[in-house]
């Protein structure tokens, strides 16, 4: 066989493989959409209360917060890092905004200060990781513990009630029939999509997750990009803290316990790789609403709450296993 025809053949094989990969990739996101749709259809027929306006809005409100959290987390995970602190940041932010509002700060100022605090936490994470050389897991595990402690300390363990009705009213309100909280997902996701998939910073995040040294040698300021990723994650978490405070009307440092794991799970179910360099914006969104639907549906079906956790665990293993199979075919 001549060299040319050999090359042509291998090119043809490669081409077919690439096309197949693209197909399987689309297939996975379609599978997630189908899975979500299937769950909704089954629940709509098997319960009387699922397909009601109240329940769907409730589901969208609950899912919205995990979705935003998972989106922020995804930026970090794409760089092959992890942010374990997001749940603690949510709880801490709820305390901060509740304190600010009870002390008479206007809502806008309170929100800006809370977000700025989230920003500071993100900068601190990136500082520890890039300057002190701590592994992301350790750095954010430390702040996970510490932030809960700080929150409890400044409230002395107490819950702060929010009396500002405009603030709490926002979370119950809707706009053209869709809950405000769900609109917040759109508000975060659209810029996030442009950032991750259409700006150079998104490309840099993927490059860092794939090979930090190659990215650095290509002139990417990898340190600055890490600051960006962890800051975005903490900002999203602080934002979710504000939304949570509005929804439940209190600030409490122990709120959102374990949400970091839900955020990571949503992201991973949505196809993000914990090894970095693989991820999207729509993936974690789908993942978070799948998880929320499981919880919501299990409640309606009177499934023991303990079972919900088991189902979630099994689902993560199944989905990520099939996703791994997909990648191995490369």
């Amino acid at each position: 066989m001549s060299v040319e025809s050999k090359i042509e053949m291998s090119e043809a094989v490669q081409l077919a493989a690439t096309k197949q990969r693209a197909r399987i990739g689309t297939l996975l996101s379609l599978t997630l959409v189908a899975l979500l749709a299937l769950m909704w259809v089954v629940l709509a027929f098997s319960t009387t209360s699922f397909w009601t306006y109240n329940n769907i809005s409730n589901l969208l409100r609950q899912g919205a917060m995990i979705a935003i959290l998972a989106l922020g987390e995804t930026f970090v995970v794409i760089t092959a890092g992890i942010d374990l602190s997001v749940g603690a940041v949510v709880g801490f932010s709820s305390v901060i905004i509740a304190l600010l509002l009870t002390n008479g700060f206007p809502i806008s100022v309170a929100i800006i200060i809370t977000l700025a605090m989230g920003l500071a936490i993100g900068l601190f994470h990136a500082f520890g990781i890039s300057r002190l050389g701590l592994p992301p897991f350790i750095m954010t595990l430390a702040t996970l513990t510490a932030l809960r402690g700080v929150g409890l300390l400044i409230t002395n363990g107490a819950t702060i009630s929010i009396t500002n009705d405009t603030f709490t009213g926002f979370s119950r309100g809707d706009f053209i029939g869709v809950p405000n909280l769900f609109w917040m997902v759109v508000v975060v996701a659209v810029p996030a999509y442009i950032f991750l998939h259409q700006s150079r910073f998104g490309r840099y995040l993927f490059a860092i997750g794939s090979n930090t040294e190659a990215a650095r040698l290509s002139g990417v300021n990898t340190t600055r990009m890490l600051y960006l990723a962890y800051t975005l994650s903490a900002l999203c978490a602080a934002f979710v803290g504000i939304l949570l405070a509005a929804r439940i009307g209190i600030g409490n440092a122990t709120q959102a316990e374990g949400w970091e794991l839900q955020a990571i799970a949503s992201s991973v179910i949505g196809g993000t790789s914990l090894f970095g360099a693989v991820g999207s914006v729509h993936g974690p969104l789908l993942g978070s609403f799948i998880l929320t639907t499981i919880n919501n549906g299990a409640n309606l079906l009177n499934v023991n709450a303990f079972w919900q956790r088991i189902i979630t665990g099994v689902l993560i293993i199944v989905i990520v296993y099939f996703d791994g199979l997909r990648r191995k075919k490369r």
Binding site: A22, R203, A214, L217
Partner: protein
């Protein structure tokens, strides 16, 4: 020689009629890929048997079948005349089949001794006998002539030394059949000499050696017989003494040898880079000049200072004295960023570690340094992005299914082209290639040499670092020899074809 043959017969239990290992119609499929097609091969006890072939010819598959890593799809394997399954690595090791792989597969955090005894530790009353193992290991290393401290942590050794440790490990456990996969790729000349001496001794003990290497001169220096594989098929087996380099290459690639040493004469243009008495960590007082269209070759032993010199030019280590001139103007290069921005590109030795984002698309890799230029407002212009990637894919002839195909799906040579394309895109004019052809096959080498020609014709200059002398004197227009941190001789291409000079260069580099 007779003595050796006799020794071989004595320790191999079978008589000379029954070969140690025989393959009949060995076949291996991976899904749709037919990696080995009905290969017949005979390995005699105590012979050194070379297997040559291009990347993808089936050599790695063959090793994996023989060591039990993969199970064959068809055919028979006979060990001393008896059919065997070779279904697990454990079974293969049981017969005494071992392999030294190209990449070191040992534990970098453990000592040399601990690695040598890994899985077979000396234990007394359930406790590890550290000191005894170190003593024993040192004895083994001394015996086989490797100058390595048994108590040293493996990762503190050079890659070459680690390779020798892996070799020592493979020879200590009753090995009767030892496969070497590109063992000299990372070795210095002295280490290579130590390895060859060991191989000679193993042969004398009756061990059968399978030697896989792209360096054909080693095949001629070392082996008794040579087999060629091409496209997963057996082509020929001959006594090494009865063939020559040209015949082997023709057998491997079915192309003529003129195409291998590919060098075009390209007129030199203006000066691109000049160093004047540059000094830094590990080198001193080095003055070189690169012109457009010129390749300068830096030759020397590992640790002679050529890599350190280049790292300094690229801004990785600051210089301590002297001056760098870029197109005649003095420049300060303090960081890699400075070097990149004036137009110097480094194509690193380890493509995996430094050069590429392997699981990302070809296009993304190519465009990584220039995304700022491709951005309009906040958003990347998708058409400009595609055009920039496609232009480089076309210009440096990267063979890829599409610009979105992951870089890992490309061959080694094409991956290197991505690195080059990336820097061309950025406007680089001086390319530093650090060992560009380590572990690549003949066909890929030609591709890399052609790439050099393309770059030179476009007015770039090249600094080539290579430990492989034939390559340096084939490709370099000017050849600089480094020894102990100093540039001790420079030769110009008009003379480098002479054999006497070839030897002189070796002598200079070795300082004999």
């Amino acid at each position: 020689m007779d003595q050796v043959q006799q020794d071989g017969k004595r320790s191999g239990a079978a008589d000379s009629v029954v070969p140690l290992l025989e393959l009949k119609g060995l076949d291996k499929r991976f899904g749709a890929t037919h990696a080995l097609k009905s290969v017949d091969l005979i390995f005699e006890a105590g012979e050194i048997h070379a297997i040559v072939g291009e990347n993808g010819a089936g050599k790695s598959t063959l090793i994996k079948l023989l060591t039990g890593v993969h199970v064959r799809s068809g055919g028979e394997v006979y060990w001393e005349g008896k059919p065997v399954a070779l279904a697990t690595p454990h079974e293969a090791i049981g017969y005494g089949i071992n392999a030294v792989h190209q990449e070191v597969v040992l534990c970098p955090h453990l000592t040399v001794a601990a690695n040598l005894f890994l899985g077979d530790e000396k234990v007394r009353l359930g406790l590890l006998q550290h000191r005894e193992m170190v003593r024993e290991a040192q004895k083994i290393l001394d015996e086989i002539g490797f100058k390595i401290a048994a108590g040293a942590i493996l990762s503190s050794l050079t890659i070459g030394q680690q390779q020798l440790v892996a070799t020592a490990r493979a020879t200590t456990r009753g090995t009767r059949f030892l496969i070497f996969d590109e063992p000299t790729a990372y070795l210095t000349r002295q280490e290579t000499a130590q390895l060859f001496a060991l191989i000679g001794r193993l042969k004398a003990k009756g061990v059968t050696i399978v030697y896989i290497s792209h360096r054909l001169e080693e095949v001629f220096q070392l082996t008794d017989r040579v087999s060629i594989l091409r496209d997963g098929q057996w082509v020929s087996t001959q006594r090494t003494a009865e063939t020559n380099e040209e015949k082997l290459i023709t057998g491997m690639i079915a192309r003529s040898i003129e195409q291998i040493h590919y060098k075009e004469t390209i007129p030199f243009g203006a000066e691109i880079l000049r160093t004047e008495r540059l000094s830094g960590k590990g080198f001193e007082d080095v003055s070189v000049r690169v012109r457009a269209g010129e390749v300068i070759g830096l030759y020397g032993l590992v640790g002679a200072g050529r890599s350190e010199f280049v790292q300094s030019v690229f801004g990785r280590f600051p210089k301590t004295g002297g001056q760098i001139f870029w197109k005649g103007q003095p420049v300060e290069i303090r960081r890699e960023k400075d070097a990149i921005s004036i137009g110097i590109a480094l194509v690193p030795e380890s493509r995996r570690d430094q050069g590429l984002c392997l699981n990302l698309g070809v296009g993304l890799n190519i465009n990584l340094p220039i995304y700022k230029r491709l951005t309009k407002g906040f958003v990347i212009d998708p058409r400009a992005e595609a055009a920039a990637a496609d232009r480089q894919i076309r210009d440096v002839q990267i063979k890829t299914a599409s610009r979105d195909a992951p870089a890992s799906s490309l061959s080694g040579g094409n991956q290197q082209k991505i690195v080059v394309g990336k820097w061309l895109n950025h406007g680089a004019q001086l390319f530093i290639f650090d060992e560009p052809t380590v572990g690549v096959d003949v066909g890929t080498k030609v591709e890399i040499y052609k790439l050099f020609a393309t770059l030179l014709k476009n007015g770039a200059g090249i600094i080539l670092i290579s430990s492989y002398l034939p390559e340096v004197y084939d490709l370099a227009d000017t050849l600089h020899v480094f020894r102990r941190g100093r540039l001790i001789a420079s030769h110009d291409s008009a003379h480098t074809k002479e054999k006497a000079l070839h030897e002189a260069i070796l002598t200079e580099a070795l300082g004999v």
